[in-house]
């Protein structure tokens, strides 16, 4: 979603207001608003929020609303309840599920009777289109007033709680971090009381997981990572069409929106802007906190963290142009699968791609161990190894060792030693930690890569593997979360290699069975996925591959990339086409890239908007209508 600040004018003076002077006063012109809406639609966003001062005071608010509906947006209006009649009428005229209103209620302090009556009157007319929002600026606020207000007017059973954050000039009233724990406990007691009545809490930004108990996090259905990483740009687009990280950090950086690629790119630039402050944290204890270190929490609100720092204000005027170019394509290296082609084929690949070719990996040739793959022809492997045309790596990821490691260990080690001394192979991909330890101790020169089958997704895991492995291929199911990949990379400390065309639906528990059957050859690999994908064809869109034209989204977090699909890329021509597309970032479609069931079955074309959205979606596919709708639009329907 994105926030449009329609106007900075406001008819209330809240003590904690952190919108304040961070935005130059003024109103967004109607044509500018429409341009923004088009730009957001093009960026694949389906929901916008209208903010401001008081958005409904915008002269042409009904027109803005109509423009949004024409472009198929879900609209959420943040209002303080004192709405002019025409704006209220425009909202009521809109279809109920398309337009909702968040009424920001000033609980606790003495509203004048007149103000409270008008807000109640607006709430009464809005009914279940609206829900109550509360800003906590001190402990001990009577939160139950919000529930009673909502109950009296039949509003939606959602209470949005937010913390009042400090502006960088500290002129507003904000919740001091030392009271976070009191507020955390108050929210726990409040949630307990309203849960039996069906009310649920929704959280604004700046909360940190350590002020809540695990019980509470489970009850509100959030993990500590979700509660901890809430501070991030949405972004907020100001009336003068510049995007800011958020209101409290308004003066930190303003990025002119016109001319920038997509909303996601604007968000990335804003994120880079605040990434440097992430290490501070709102509490002094943050620096020793495992949650911050493991990436589950990014230290709470940056504005609150900056309170602890001595700052000389930034007056750097960002040159308009350089902020809008897409970050330069850093040269990334590729690890590509061995297919049984003569050495000349690999020589042509080597000189075509030059430094981009990191290594060619081939399965270890020990009978009985297998690499979780059916045996592959390897007539040319021996002389390719001797010719040293291209750096080689060996794949030892016996997902399911037929015998315990104790008996197989020696044979594997001795084979690796032979490959290392004779053929100069100095890289191996392994999927078992103890095996890797033994290789590391006996063959220290070997660079070890942790296979994606280790399902490494958690920062504390990565930290454990830090001294055993040199490169880490994380679990493919987090391939689409740049934040989590960044957190994993920091805690692993070394290189991250992303497997981009592995189409397997990552947490599918059939995967081990699938590899086991392939490894021991006693089953047909397709048997498992086909059954599931025929029942729900739209699931193929949830595959975890990243197309060449979307690689720039992963560039900030990836050091190397890896191509899978030794079986599906058997044909040399197809193999070269796919490799060239990935290295030179030219568009391809899933059924062309091979690798994993999603593409094996049949043609599959993915609309660009869907691929973009999948990067920033909340990944709760089970009930996500987005992929279902996208599936119906693509050509997949008739292909199956």
């Amino acid at each position: 979603m994105a926030n449009l600040v329609l106007t900075t004018a406001c008819n209330r003076k809240c003590v904690y207001c952190f919108a304040g002077r961070s935005a130059p006063s003024g109103e967004m012109r109607l044509d500018a608003a429409q341009e923004m809406l088009d730009w957001l639609a093009a960026s694949g966003r389906s929901e916008i929020r209208l903010l401001g001062g008081e958005p409904t005071l915008h002269a042409k608010f009904p027109a803005v609303l109509r423009a949004a509906f024409e472009r198929g947006f879900q609209v959420l209006v943040f209002s303080n309840g004192l709405m002019p009649a025409d704006s209220l009428a425009a909202i009521m005229a809109a279809p109920a599920e398309r337009c909702r209103v968040m009424l920001n209620l000033n609980i606790g302090d003495a509203d004048s009777a007149g103000l409270r009556a008008q807000v109640s009157q607006t709430a009464a007319t809005l009914g279940n289109r609206a829900f109550v929002g509360v800003n906590i600026y001190r402990p001990g606020l009577p939160l139950m007033e919000a529930v009673e207000f909502g109950r009296k007017h039949g509003l939606q059973k959602v209470i949005r709680v937010g913390l009042a954050h400090p502006r960088l000039d500290r002129q507003n009233l904000w919740l001091h971090p030392r009271d976070y724990h009191c507020v955390g406990d108050e929210l726990e007691v409040f949630q307990r009381r309203i849960q039996p009545e069906g009310y649920s809490l929704s959280f604004d930004c700046g909360f940190v997981p350590c002020i809540f108990s695990n019980d509470f996090l489970r009850r509100v259905g959030m993990s500590s990572a979700e509660m901890g990483c809430r501070c991030g740009p949405i972004p907020d687009i100001l009336p003068d069409l510049t995007a800011i990280h958020c209101f409290p950090l308004g003066e930190l950086d303003q990025i002119p929106v016109s001319g920038v690629g997509t909303v996601t790119q604007v968000n990335d630039l804003l994120k880079q802007r605040t990434r440097v402050f992430r290490g501070i944290g709102v509490f002094r204890e943050c620096r020793r906190c495992p949650l911050l270190e493991s990436g589950q929490c990014n230290g709470g609100c940056v504005a609150a963290a900056l309170l602890r720092s001595r700052r000389t204000p930034v007056a750097v005027s960002a040159p308009a142009s350089d902020h809008c170019t897409v970050p330069s394509e850093a040269v990334k290296t590729w690890s590509i699968p061995y297919i049984d082609q003569p050495a000349e084929f690999w020589a042509t690949l080597a000189n075509e791609h030059g430094p981009a070719l990191q290594e060619v990996y081939f399965p270890i040739g020990l009978e009985g161990i297998g690499s979780g793959r059916p045996a592959q022809p390897d007539r040319h492997l021996k002389n390719l190894l001797q010719s040293m045309a291209v750096p080689m790596a060996v794949l030892v990821n016996p997902l399911v060792l037929p015998q315990p490691l104790e008996d197989l260990g020696e044979r594997i080690l001795e084979e690796l030693r032979r490959l290392h001394e004779h053929d100069g192979v100095c890289a191996a991909t392994v999927a078992d930690v103890r095996l890797a330890e033994r290789i590391k101790s006996s063959l220290p020169a070997m660079r070890l890569t942790a296979s994606c089958l280790l399902e490494v997704a958690e920062a504390s895991q990565a930290r454990l593997l830090r001294d055993v492995f040199d490169v880490l291929v994380p679990s493919t199911r987090m391939l689409r979360c740049p934040e989590r990949l960044a957190a994993l990379r920091t805690s692993f400390g070394q290189k991250l290699r992303l497997l981009v065309n592995e189409g397997c639906l990552a947490p599918c528990l059939d995967r081990k069975q699938h590899f086991f059957e392939m490894g021991t050859g006693c089953g047909v690999p397709k048997s498992l996925c086909e059954l599931r994908l025929t029942r729900d064809p739209w699931l193929r869109l949830t595959g975890t591959w990243i197309l060449p034209q979307h690689l720039h989204l992963l560039d900030p977090v990836a050091d190397q990339y890896k191509l899978a699909g030794r079986v599906t890329l058997r044909d040399p021509e197809h193999y070269r086409k796919v490799l060239r597309a990935y290295v030179q970032r030219r568009a391809l479609w899933p059924h062309e890239i091979g690798g994993g069931p999603a593409s094996v079955l049949s043609r599959l074309s993915i609309p660009r908007t869907h691929a973009q959205a999948a990067m920033a979606c909340d990944h709760v596919c089970a009930d996500c209508r987005f992929c279902r709708r996208a599936a119906s639009q693509t050509t997949m329907g008739e292909a199956l």
Binding site: R275, R288, S309, T312
Partner: protein
């Protein structure tokens, strides 16, 4: 710059640089170049005193007591820290008018 003028010079954090005491060191954040560095002691003490407007002589004298008996190398620790920060653009000499006695 002549020695004593350089000694008497005071400093301040450059524009866009913020710093926070973190653990037993200081985290210095450059918002413009988007980099950050965690200073350990004794560099942290030099940074702290420099940012509070102490001049080089006072910093060197205090550093002697801060490092206790390892004070033989204090002279060049201060010089090396200050110069490297100035080169990196983290620190800039305050205008002489704001000298803190």
């Amino acid at each position: 710059m002549s020695a004593e003028r350089c000694e008497a010079e005071t400093y301040r954090a450059a524009r866009g640089v913020s710093w926070v005491a973190q653990g037993n060191g200081i985290l210095v954040v450059d918002e413009v170049a988007r980099g950050s560095v965690l200073l350990a002691y004794p560099a942290a003490a030099v940074w702290d005193m420099a940012c509070r407007g102490r001049d080089r002589a006072h910093i060197a004298a205090s550093l002697r007591w801060i490092m206790g008996n390892e004070h033989k190398v204090v002279g060049d620790v201060v010089r090396e820290c200050l110069n490297s920060w100035i080169l990196d653009g983290l620190l800039e000499p305050a205008d002489p008018a704001r000298r803190v006695t």
